[in-house]
Symmetry: C2
Subunit: 220 residues, 2 copies
């Protein structure tokens, strides 16, 4: 290559603020936490839908799209990558594996936020320390922790996947709320009383919060 | 919770096509591959800049934003997560660790694509099998492999970070192109002659390709 071509090889990085001005809103991470069956995923998807209708760019990260690829267990990896690889990199449900699960989700949500998108994460994320570590990787105001506060007995009555029943029968071990602790946030940005209101009302509460924080425009 | 609240708990998922119609373009993954110093990151960032100016939503994944968090090495993880965690989950540069590095990047790029964004990845990704595995996780036409075809001697002359010099001196082991192989794509969607053209011209070649494929509008 010639020298005069060489001088043109500099970076043209798009700044975060430029990206945000194009989209008309800021990027951030809305981190839903709560028991299995509390309504995290339903509220996140309802919120995603409402934001979309408002022209706000959002994306949902939940078990459906993360546990099958990015944070797959050994069984999912074995076919394409072999046994040794699957054992080395597959994520299970030990405390350390759960920590890594949350760490990666936080890192990906951060990438979305940096790209100007409102990332909605819906994971039990039971340990306060793991959530706080994710918070510390982000800018002030970027990590919005929302406690989906549905009592255990309500979650257990809903039991959409029959998991509580299996946990009570001892067929699933280390199940959050049964034989593994759930640590509620000590200072969440928002608490949703998800046993008393519809997903639409709860999503509106989040939208109201985002508006008051200047993350989305009042007329977005 | 009452039964009449319960019936409203259904999902409102935003379909991919709805997301794409809002943004006015499709999501996809543009996977740049090539030697260190070939110009992957510069072309990706230049392309990102041009797409931004066209109102197209894109995001760059490269070593700068991936190796410090999502795919951090043990050293980066140790402080926040402890020694055992860092050893268990930190990524090094063995063949298996490189495979996992690429696997995760592919999974994240796919999440971006599913959210309607054009994800631009800029990693050496030297092994054909690893790139092909990523391709197989995606829909037809979603994974666009671009070979940044800069000859080794040009890359070595550029050597922006002095890595080739260190590799030649034996201070870095398993360096792609020196003592570790680079496997060029056998059927890439596009080949860029990056030693002969400016990043702006190369980015325009990619934009032309995206237009012919109907991923972005001709007037986008």
């Amino acid at each position: 290559m010639t020298n005069d071509t060489n001088v043109t090889w500099h970076e043209h990085q798009v700044s975060r603020s430029l990206r945000e001005s194009m989209k008309g809103h800021k990027g951030c991470v809305i981190w839903f936490t709560g028991l299995s069956g509390s309504g995290k995923s339903t509220v996140a998807n309802t919120l995603d839908h409402k934001l979309h209708q408002m022209g706000v760019h959002s994306a949902v990260l939940d078990g459906d799209n993360v546990r099958h690829a990015l944070n797959a267990g050994p069984g999912m990896l074995r076919g394409a990558h072999g046994d040794d690889f699957a054992e080395r990199f597959g994520l299970g449900f030990t405390a350390m594996d759960r920590e890594e699960n949350i760490r990666r989700i936080g890192a990906v949500a951060h990438l979305f936020s940096q790209a100007g998108i409102i990332a909605l994460t819906a994971f039990i994320s039971p340990y306060r320390q793991d959530r706080d570590r994710v918070r510390r990787t982000m800018d002030a105001g970027e990590f919005i922790e929302i406690f989906v506060d549905t009592p255990l007995d309500v979650c257990e009555t809903r039991d959409p996947k029959g998991l509580y029943k299996k946990a009570r029968a001892g067929e699933i071990k280390n199940f959050t709320g049964i034989d593994d602790p759930y640590e509620a946030p000590s200072a969440p940005e928002l608490v949703l009383q998800a046993s008393e209101k519809t997903p639409g009302v709860l999503a509106d509460e989040v939208i109201h919060y985002l508006t008051t924080q200047g993350i989305i425009g009042a007329t977005a």
